[in-house]
Amino acid sequence: MSTATPSKPAPPRRTRTVSKWGDWIFLLLTIVATALIVALMVALLVVLVYGSRSTIQALGLSFLYTKVWNPEGNVYGIVPFAVGTLLTSAIALLIAVPLGIGAAIFLTQQAPGWLRGPVGQLIELLAAIPSIIYGFWGLIVLVPIMRYDIDPVLLRYLGWTGWFSGPDYGLSVLTASLVLSVMAIPTITAISRDSIAAVPRSQKEAALSIGATDWEVTRKAVLPYARSGIIAGIVLGLGRALGETMAVTLTIGNKNAIPTSLFSAGQTIPSLIANDFFEAATPQEIPALLEAALILLIITLSINIGARLALARFQAGRGVGAE
C-alpha cells in the first residue's frame, strides 16, 4: 500500500455514534421492507380464507364437487370452471409445448448466429404484449376466423371424434385455448432455450465424434441433459395459462356450464371472477368468488413452487455435471 498515512486526527467520537445509529435505522428499514413482502404472501392466503369464510362454512366440501353455479339459488360449485381452466390450459400446452421447444432447439442448435439475437428479442416482445390486447385481437380477429374458416374444417374432418361439434359461435373453449397457447409459448421457449444453451459443448462434441447427425445430437445428447430445465419451463408456462384472465374472458364465451365440446362456450376460474365481479355480483356471491380465487391461488402457487424447485435442482445438477 503506497497511500500516505492520514495526516488528520481520528474523527471525533460523536460522528461514529451518529453513523452507528444510521446503520441501525437503515437495517431496520430494510427489515421492515422484507417483513412487508413476507406479510403480503401470508396475507394473500389469510385474507382470501377470511373473505370466503361464509361460503366455506355453508357449503364445505360440496363447493369442490357441485356442478352448478347459481347465485339466485345460492348454490355454488367450482366444477364447471375447474374443468374449463384445466381443459383450456391442457390444449394450450398441447400446442405451445412442441412449438416452444422446437423454436428453442432451432434457436440454440441450428440458427445462424446473426439470427439468434433478433429472434430471441421478438419472442421477448411476444411476452411483453399485455394479455388484454391478445384478448381484444382474439375477439375481433380470431373469433370470426375460427367460426367461419377453421371450425367448419375441423367439424368436417374431426367431427366424428365428438370433440368438434355442437353450436359454434367462434367464442369457444378452442379459441380461448389458442390465445392461451400464444401466451404460454414465450415462457416455454425462453426457459428451454436457456437450459439447452447451458448444455456443455463437450456433451455435443462427444456425440458428433461418434458420427451422430444434428438431430441425433439434439435428441440423445442435448435434450436429456436439459430435460429438467425444459420441464420447469413448461410448468411455468402452465402456471401462466392457468391464471390468465383477460385473454380468456374475451374469447371463451363466458357460459357457466361444463363445456360439452371444444366448440362450446365455457368459463375458467379467472374469467368467472372477472365477469361476475365486474358485472353485478350479489353480496352473497362474493364470498363464493373469493373461494374460487383461493383455490386458483393454491393451484398456481403449488405449480410455481414445484417448477422453481425443479429449476433449482437443474441448476445445482449442472454444476455437478460440468466437472
Binding site: 474523527p11 427489515i31 412487508l36 421478438l122 416482445l125 388484454i132 381484444f136 386458483l296 405449480i303
Partner: protein, 296 residues
C-alpha cells in the same frame, strides 16, 4: 425409393431442422398479426382529439347519425396516476428487501427468504391480486373499494416481486471490493450502501423498475375488480372510481358501439407504444451497464 441408413438418418435430421425452423415462423405469426391489427385499427383514430377529448357518448353510425370519435385523456391520465402510485408503494419495498437480502444476507440467514418469497409472489395470478386488495380494502376503508388508490394497491402487489428480484440481481453484480474499499475508508455501512453500492447498481435497478412498470401498465384483470369505472367523466381524485387504458380496452371491446370499439383500438395502440418504449429503454440501460462493467 430406398435409402441406405446414413442417408436416411441425414434426411430425418434435416427435416427436423426444417420443422424446428417452421416452429419459429408459426410463433411469429400471432406476434405480427397482433401488432399489425393494433397499428392499423389503432392508427385510424390516431389524431389530436385522441389526446385532448374524453370518452364520447356511445354511438354506432346509422343513416343520419354521425358519431363523435372522442379521446382517451381520462384513460391516459388514469394509467399514469395508477402507475405512479403503484411505483411509489412497490419500489421502496422492493429495493429495501433486496438490500436486506444482498447487503445483510451474510449476517442474517433470514435474508434468503426474499428471493424465495418474490419467486412465489411472481406466480400469483393478477386477478387474485385484485380480489385480495378488494377484500382487504373493504375491511378497512369501504369508501375507497373502487378507486384509483385501490387499483394501484393491486398493481403494487404485482410489481413488488419483480422489483425485488431484479434489484437483488443488480446488487449482486456490484463487486465486494467496492463495498470493502468504502468501509475501509470509515464510511458507515448505510452510506456505503446508499451512495456507493446502490449507485453502482442503478442501471440494473432502473431496468427492474421499468420491467415492473411495463407489466403493471398492461394489467387489466385487477383493475376490473378494484378500479371501478370512472371513464365517463374527468377523474375526480385518487379516492374515486378511476379509469385506465387496459380497462378501457375491456369496456370498449365488450361494448356494441362502433366508436367505443374504435377507441379501444386507440387505447391498445397507445399501450403498445408505452410498453415497447419501456422495454427499449430498459434494454438500453442494461447495455450501458454491461459496457461500463466491461470498461471497469
Amino acid at each position: 425409393m430406398k435409402f441406405d441408413r446414413p442417408a436416411r438418418r441425414k434426411l430425418f435430421s434435416n427435416s427436423m431442422t426444417v420443422l424446428t425452423g417452421l416452429a419459429i415462423v408459426v410463433i411469429m405469426i400471432p406476434l405480427f398479426a397482433v401488432i399489425y391489427e393494433t397499428l392499423s385499427l389503432g392508427g385510424s383514430v390516431l389524431n389530436a382529439s385522441l389526446f385532448t377529448q374524453g370518452i364520447p357518448y356511445p354511438c354506432s353510425p346509422r343513416a343520419g347519425v354521425t358519431c363523435q370519435q372522442g379521446g382517451l385523456v381520462v384513460a391516459i391520465q388514469g394509467t399514469f396516476e395508477l402507475i405512479a402510485l403503484a411505483a411509489l408503494i412497490s419500489v421502496p419495498i422492493g429495493i429495501g428487501a433486496a438490500i436486506f437480502s444482498v447487503e445483510y444476507g451474510r449476517e442474517h440467514a433470514a435474508a434468503r427468504i426474499v428471493g424465495l418469497v418474490s419467486d412465489v409472489l411472481s406466480g400469483v395470478p393478477s386477478i387474485v391480486a385484485g380480489v385480495f386488495v378488494y377484500t382487504l380494502v373493504l375491511l378497512y376503508e369501504p369508501t375507497i373499494v373502487f378507486s384509483t388508490l385501490s387499483g394501484s394497491f393491486a398493481l403494487a402487489v404485482l410489481m413488488v416481486p419483480i422489483v425485488a428480484r431484479t434489484c437483488e440481481e443488480a446488487l449482486r453484480t456490484v463487486p465486494n471490493s467496492v463495498r470493502e474499499a468504502a468501509l475501509a475508508l470509515g464510511i458507515s455501512k448505510w452510506k456505503t450502501t446508499l451512495r456507493i453500492v446502490l449507485v453502482s447498481a442503478l442501471p440494473g435497478i432502473v431496468t427492474g423498475v421499468l420491467l415492473a412498470v411495463a407489466r403493471a401498465a398492461g394489467e387489466a384483470a385487477p383493475l376490473l375488480i378494484a378500479l371501478g369505472n370512472g371513464c365517463a367523466h374527468p377523474l375526480q381524485g385518487v379516492n374515486q372510481e378511476g379509469c385506465a387504458l387496459p380497462l378501457w380496452i375491456y369496456i370498449g371491446a365488450t361494448s356494441p358501439y362502433a366508436n367505443w370499439i374504435a377507441l379501444a383500438w386507440g387505447a391498445a395502440l397507445i399501450l403498445l407504444v408505452i410498453i415497447l418504449a419501456l422495454s427499449v429503454i430498459s434494454r438500453l440501460t442494461l447495455d450501458r451497464m454491461a459496457r461500463r462493467m466491461r470498461g471497469g
